[in-house]
Every structure is written in structure tokens, then in C-alpha cells.
């Protein structure tokens, strides 16, 4: 009995009995597009399967215009991932996320990669559309702030993944690396202008689970990204995602014209002044909203964020030998309706600004304990006095 159950019992207290941690290869130039594999994994023996995941938990206290719902605790996500090397240059990777205590279970990524050449890889399955940087590089333990950036979750509806196929590749020479990604996938639907947010709201399409079975209108969503990086300077990415969101034809009947939507995103990250890390993303979104619909649903959106992270102490702290203490600041903005009122001729508002000073402590690279103050100003469509929200968030996020 002990022979059978002994390892299992022992395994409950020391994962290293079964698993070994797969070290990340830091010698290669990694880009945001590599984020899906650039994660700590655990490998069992010599099996070609690696496991991993991360957990986020936090608490928050917010007050909007002086009214607070008090202190609350959240488990925004528990994510499991598994990768397998099927054969040489054939890899499979999946990421399954349990959100809000298991209320939602999403397959965020489940793709097979076939490498024909470093410049020519085929990927198929549930892919994360490479628009901006955050959508692909969104793991909680990589960020020093409790909340995800507003523009990356409400304009780009991260995590935005769809069934599709495409190509990607990289070319590197000395300190330079250049990469591309190009995918065709299922995409958005008309919920983006027919939702209970009362504005053009791209995340509304995430509620359509059928997009993993069939396209809403038969027109593939196209996503292209190019990124270039110099080891000592920066990584810059330019991406575009475009398609049609409405059902213009049903059962052979033409219902409407094709109504396009397009996203263009810029992302950049760099380390300056030796160890000050900058990371930012900006997105513009364009949607063909029918003229006869209400202007609350805007045809243009834009927004972005800039994170500045400064380590202030590195080394041994509280017994952890490779710990880091950071201070950080996030500036973010999202405008959900760029344009003017037809009736008033005045600029439409419907935007939000936020300022988030933070402090984070990393006892190891895989774990972050973080706290931030958040100040947010939201202005409604009509440019009435902004509502002010402020409060604290505290939490941790860790790979396991």
C-alpha cells in the first residue's frame, strides 16, 4: 500500500517529487507574441507534457462620488495551462481559465503549432488574436497592478480568442528580432451595438459562445501583427484586426450591407535608465454603425495605457533571495465615442481617465504581491460633471 500511495502522499507536500520546473530560456529574444509559451511550466519526469497555471486573488475598496459598497474580495481568475511536444517542431498548448470563482470557464487558447521553418509556422485551433500586446501577454503574475488596463479589456476585449488558423514566424540577427503573425478566425457579432452597456461595446461579443462553432456572418476576422525588437532599445508592435460584425445575409436573403469594424493598435515596451520598465499600448477602433441608430453607440473609440515600473530594491528580503520591490504608475484612458452629436454639434464625451500608483513585491519572478490606489474620472456622453471613483486594491498573482 505504501508503495502505491506513498509517492502520492509525499507528492502532496512536495511537488518536486513528481515535477521539475522547466526553466525559461532567457537567452533568446522574447516578444509579446511568445507570451503563450513564455511561462513557467512543471514537467513530470521525462513525459513530453508540461503543466502550469496561475491564480489571482485580490480585495478592493472603492468609492464612487462618496458612495462605497465597502470592502470586497475577488478571485478574478484561476488559469491552467498545459503544453505538449508531440514531435519535434509539433507543439500543442492550451490555456483554460476559470473566471470569477468558476462562474465562467473559457478555453482562451488551444492550438497546435507546426514549425516548417522559424519564419513559417502554422497555428490552428483557438488562437488569441494578436491585436496590441496585452491580449496575448495578459498573465496576471506579469503585471504590477491588480486590475487589467481599461482600454485592453473594453476596447480590445482581452482576452479575445477565436477559432482560426494562421501563420507566424520570426527572424533574428544579433540584437534584432522581427516577427509577424497573420490569422483568419471567427469574429465579432452585432452585440457590439446591441448590448446593455449603452455604448459600442466589443466585449459583448465574448458572450457569444457559438463563435467557437461557427462564424456569425461567414466573413473571417483578419488579424495581422508585426513586431520588431532590439535587445537594448525596445519592442514595438503594430497590429490590425478587421472584419464584418453584422449578419448581412441570412438563409440566402440579403438583410443589410456588410458593416465593417477595424482595430489598429500600437504597442511598445522598453527598459530605460538601466532598470525602469515602460510598457504601453494604444488602440483605435472603427465601426460602421448605421446612421439611423442612436449615437450613443459610437463609430470610433480609442484608448491606451502606459505602465512605468521602477524596482527600488532587489536582493534578499524577508528570506527570499531574489526578491524585488517595485513602485509603479499606470496612466490610462479610454474614449468610447469619438465624434460630435448630430443634434448639438458638440463633442461627445463618454470617456474615462485613470491614474494608478502601485507598489509590488516579488519574492520570486513568478509571484507578485501588489497594492495600488486607483483614481478614475468617468464623463458621460453629454459631458456632465464626471463621476469620481477612487479606492485601494490589494492582491497577489502567482504562477504555480
Amino acid at each position: 500500500m505504501l508503495t502505491i500511495f506513498g509517492p502520492a502522499l509525499y507528492g502532496q507536500t512536495d511537488t518536486s517529487f513528481f515535477f521539475t520546473r522547466v526553466k525559461q530560456d532567457s537567452s533568446k529574444l522574447k516578444l509579446n507574441m511568445d507570451a503563450v509559451y513564455n511561462r513557467p511550466f512543471l514537467q513530470m519526469g521525462k513525459l513530453p507534457v508540461s503543466l502550469g497555471g496561475y491564480l489571482e486573488a485580490n480585495s478592493s475598496y472603492f468609492s464612487t462620488d462618496g458612495i462605497s459598497e465597502g470592502l470586497s474580495f475577488q478571485l478574478p481568475r484561476l488559469t491552467m495551462f498545459m503544453s505538449a511536444s508531440i514531435r519535434q517542431r509539433i507543439k500543442f498548448m492550451t490555456e483554460i481559465e476559470f473566471e470569477e470563482g468558476g462562474r465562467e470557464i473559457n478555453i482562451e487558447f488551444a492550438a497546435l503549432d507546426l514549425e516548417f521553418n522559424p519564419l513559417f509556422n502554422l497555428r490552428g485551433g483557438v488562437i488569441m488574436n494578436p491585436i496590441g500586446s496585452f491580449n496575448q501577454n495578459h498573465d496576471g503574475p506579469k503585471w504590477e497592478f491588480v486590475s487589467r488596463p481599461i482600454s485592453s479589456t473594453t476596447i480590445i476585449p482581452s482576452t479575445w480568442s477565436n477559432v482560426g488558423f494562421g501563420l507566424f514566424g520570426k527572424y533574428s540577427k544579433k540584437n534584432w528580432v522581427w516577427a509577424y503573425e497573420a490569422y483568419l478566425s471567427n469574429g465579432f457579432d452585432d452585440k457590439i451595438i446591441n448590448n446593455n452597456q449603452n455604448r459600442t461595446w466589443f466585449p459583448a461579443s465574448k458572450a457569444n459562445r457559438e463563435r467557437f462553432e461557427e462564424s456569425f456572418n461567414g466573413v473571417p476576422l483578419k488579424t495581422l501583427k508585426m513586431a520588431i525588437k532590439h535587445r537594448k532599445i525596445a519592442e514595438i508592435g503594430v497590429s490590425w484586426m478587421g472584419g464584418v460584425y453584422n449578419k448581412f445575409r441570412d438563409d440566402g436573403l440579403v438583410l443589410d450591407k456588410k458593416r465593417p469594424l477595424n482595430f489598429i493598435a500600437l504597442d511598445i515596451n522598453s527598459t530605460i535608465l538601466k532598470d525602469t520598465y515602460l510598457n504601453g499600448e494604444w488602440v483605435w477602433a472603427y465601426v460602421d454603425v448605421p446612421d439611423t441608430y442612436i449615437q450613443q453607440f459610437g463609430s470610433r473609440q480609442q484608448g491606451g495605457f502606459l505602465d512605468i515600473v521602477q524596482p527600488i530594491k532587489k536582493g534578499k528580503m524577508l528570506g527570499w533571495s531574489e526578491s524585488v520591490l517595485n513602485i509603479a504608475l499606470r496612466l490610462e484612458y479610454a474614449d468610447y465615442n469619438v465624434g460630435n452629436f448630430q443634434e448639438l454639434g458638440l463633442r461627445i464625451a463618454d470617456h474615462v481617465y485613470a491614474l494608478v500608483p502601485a507598489i509590488s513585491f516579488r519574492p520570486s519572478a513568478q509571484t507578485v504581491v501588489r497594492a495600488n490606489y486607483r483614481y478614475e474620472r468617468r464623463t458621460d456622453l453629454l459631458r456632465n460633471p464626471a463621476s469620481q471613483t477612487a479606492g485601494f486594491q490589494f492582491g497577489f498573482s502567482t504562477y504555480f
Binding site: N194, N195, N198, L255, T292, L318, E343, L344, L382, N384
Partner: protein
């Protein structure tokens, strides 16, 4: 050293979190906002108020939940931000009636233009030959008090034949009751018609009447009270529950009255005196009182809405050629002035006054008064600049 720094940081964070109530936004003063319930509601009434608040301000209609197919707005809150006045963006257009014989364009989409449509549908346009008028959404506050003014009190303010020869001859708007409404116990009907009091032309009898019409005509939502599709005119199933309608009505009934600011400011006091001396109070009656109400907090209360709830002839400049009920095209119900100073908070920092938002300042609004109000307007124009400023400051304090 490193550990000390870390502990210091954690302690600092802890202190910040403990003191978070001090560095988060403060509650605005009660007199600076329009929303919030009247005083004296029971716990059960507060719960009902909150349910109505959610339905009014948070419920956004989509095509799945009944929006349209033609409509003006997607929610109640779209037109009444912060329970205040609306702007030209959500201005309603009514058409098809030019006298007291009724609307001749009901078969062509009247009385209200639905100028927006869900994708795949075509919005309405004003039919040829129909006169029309535009109505900016009013503030919602204090409506429960206005609803509870007795017919007898309204009639006591009326002077249809100008018996007192002051040039002011207010009349009530008498209208038919839709089948889903029962007259209030204190109603004083005339030839089978009842005194209406809500809306620019006083064409709505009660808040239930107003609410049912707004869901139907503004958002395209059918209810058990008005089970019709606004696009096709066909009878359809209710798209909103009767409970929700009743909760919204309760919310409107129990929204607090605007609270006057700077009452003791000498300029405001002087402005109030000028307001009375100019004769403005002949129509904008300062004080009214409620009769008995099932909501105890509304029963037998005195309040200061600055209206007489009567129709007055306002001259050719404000005659759009469109009317409702028994009102003439140049007659308008005296709008309550309470909350006037807070209007910019819901109108994008600006004023859009008079029935269609054409006045961009209080001064402009006064100068657009005609008809029965011509005398008061002329007296205002003859005031010294400082006296005008006092009056404006008083009006902004409301």
C-alpha cells in the same frame, strides 16, 4: 535594512487602506444633486425606490429585450441624466395635432416621432402636412409632490376669464383617461374629462400615464397597460413587467424635491423679491401643497415648485402649431422652476431651456416669454443690470 523597508511599505499600505474613507471622493452635498429619495420613506419603500432606481437608470433595452423597432432612447436614464433635464440629443418630437379635436396623424406614427431604429428598420419621419413641436426631457425630481396636488387646489389657481384683470388666465388641460387609469379620489372632472398635469402641455394625467407612454413612445417597449408594438401598431405581449412599471412609478413619486441653495445670500433674497414684484409668481407659484397620499412621506406636505400646473398663452414666438389635449398651440404648462440651477449638471454644463431647449441661458428664456408673460418680461428688461443679476442668482439657487 531591506526587510525594514518592506515592513515599512506594508505598514504604509495598511495605514492607507484603513484611512481609505478619507482619501476617496466625498459625497456631494444633498443640495447639489437631484437624485435621492424623499425623507421619511419606510424600509420597504426604500427597497422599492432602489428597485425603481435600477429599472430607471440601469436597465438598457436591446432588440432582444424589446427596444423599438423604432425608438428615441434606449433607457429612461438616457434622457434624464442624474434625474435632471435632458438635451437636444434626446429631445422628443411630437406631431399631428393642431387643435383640441385630437391628433389627425395617429395612423402615420403620431403623436411621437421615433427618429431612430434598430438595424434593418427605418425610423419614422414627420408626415407631410403635420405640424410638430420638440420637447426636451424635463427633470424628474419632486414629481410625487406635484402628482399629489389636489384638483381643487389647481382649480383655485385657475382664472380662465381673467376675472382679476391681471392679464394672467391659467387653465387646466382636461383630457380623457386611458383605460388603464383610474381617476384619483380627489379628481374634479369636467364633461367626463380629467385635469392632466405632467408634460410640456400637461397632457399626462399621472406618473403612471407618463411612464407607460414613455416606455411605449420613447423606447418602444410594450406593457400590460399599452400592449402595442410602436412600429407595427399590432397588439403584442408585454416587454416589461407590470411590477417594473410600478417600481419606476414609485421611484418617480419618491424622488426628492430639489433643495434650494444659498437661501440666505442677500443677492438671492433680493432676487426673490424682484421675482415676486415682476409678477413672475402669478404663474410660477412658489408654494403648493399635497393632499393625502398612500405614501405617508408625501401626504399633506408644503413644497416650493414655482408652478401652478396650468396652461398659459405664451405668444406667437412659442407657438409651434402643435398641441395636446385641450391646450391651444400657443399654450404651455408653467414649468416648475425648482432645480433650475442644477440643470447644467445634466445638460452637459450648459442650459437648454424652454420647451425645446432653444434658450441657452436663463436671460434668454425670460426674453422668450410672450403672451400672458409679456408684462413680466418687459419689467425684467427695464431692470438695472444689478437687479437682473439678483434675479438670475435667485433662479440659479432653486
Amino acid at each position: 535594512m531591506n526587510s525594514r523597508l518592506l515592513i515599512f511599505t506594508i505598514l504604509l499600505e495598511a495605514i492607507l487602506i484603513i484611512s481609505c474613507e478619507r482619501i476617496t471622493p466625498r459625497v456631494p452635498a444633498d443640495d447639489q444633486i437631484l437624485d435621492g429619495p424623499i425623507e421619511g420613506l419606510t424600509s420597504a419603500e426604500k427597497t422599492r425606490f432602489l428597485a425603481g432606481d435600477v429599472a430607471f437608470n440601469d436597465e438598457i433595452f436591446t432588440s432582444e429585450t424589446g427596444l423599438g423597432s423604432v425608438f428615441v432612447a434606449t433607457s429612461c436614464g438616457s434622457c434624464h441624466a442624474g434625474d435632471g433635464k435632458g438635451t437636444l440629443f434626446t429631445t422628443l418630437t411630437r406631431f399631428g395635432q393642431s387643435d383640441d379635436t385630437g391628433n389627425k396623424f395617429l395612423h402615420l406614427g403620431g403623436p411621437q416621432l421615433q427618429n431612430r431604429a434598430i438595424p434593418g428598420y427605418t425610423p419614422e419621419s414627420i408626415p407631410a402636412g403635420a405640424t410638430f413641436s420638440r420637447f426636451t426631457p424635463p427633470a424628474n425630481t419632486g414629481l410625487g409632490f406635484i402628482e399629489m396636488v389636489t384638483d381643487a387646489d389647481i382649480l383655485a389657481m385657475a382664472d380662465p376669464s381673467d376675472a382679476d384683470k391681471d392679464g394672467i388666465s391659467g387653465v387646466p388641460n382636461y383630457g380623457d383617461l386611458p383605460s388603464f387609469l383610474n381617476p384619483l379620489p380627489n379628481a374634479v372632472p369636467k364633461n367626463g374629462r380629467y385635469i392632466h398635469r405632467f408634460g410640456k402641455k400637461a397632457a399626462a394625467y399621472s406618473l403612471l400615464h407618463q411612464t407607460v407612454n414613455a416606455y411605449s413612445q420613447d423606447i418602444g417597449i410594450s406593457s400590460s397597460f399599452a400592449p402595442f408594438d410602436v412600429y407595427s401598431g399590432l397588439e403584442i405581449d408585454p416587454e416589461i413587467s407590470t411590477l417594473t412599471i410600478n417600481n419606476v412609478v414609485f421611484y418617480l413619486q419618491t424622488l426628492k424635491a430639489p433643495i434650494q441653495r444659498d437661501q440666505n445670500d442677500p443677492q438671492v433674497k433680493q432676487g426673490k423679491q424682484t421675482f415676486i414684484e415682476l409678477g413672475c409668481e402669478s404663474c410660477h407659484k412658489q408654494t403648493l401643497k399635497t393632499g393625502p397620499s398612500q405614501i405617508f412621506a408625501l401626504s399633506n406636505k408644503t413644497f416650493h415648485a414655482y408652478t401652478d400646473l396650468l396652461l398659459h398663452e405664451m405668444g406667437g414666438g412659442l407657438d409651434d402649431g402643435y398641441t395636446e389635449g385641450s391646450a391651444k398651440t400657443s399654450e404651455w404648462r408653467t414649468p416648475p422652476l425648482w432645480g433650475l440651477g442644477l440643470s447644467p449638471n445634466s445638460q452637459g454644463g450648459q442650459y437648454f431651456l424652454m420647451h425645446d431647449g432653444r434658450a441657452r441661458s436663463i436671460e434668454q428664456a425670460i426674453e422668450m416669454h410672450g403672451g400672458e408673460a409679456t408684462g413680466s418680461k418687459n419689467r425684467f428688461k427695464q431692470l438695472a443690470q444689478s437687479e437682473q443679476a439678483d434675479l438670475i442668482k435667485f433662479l440659479k439657487s432653486l
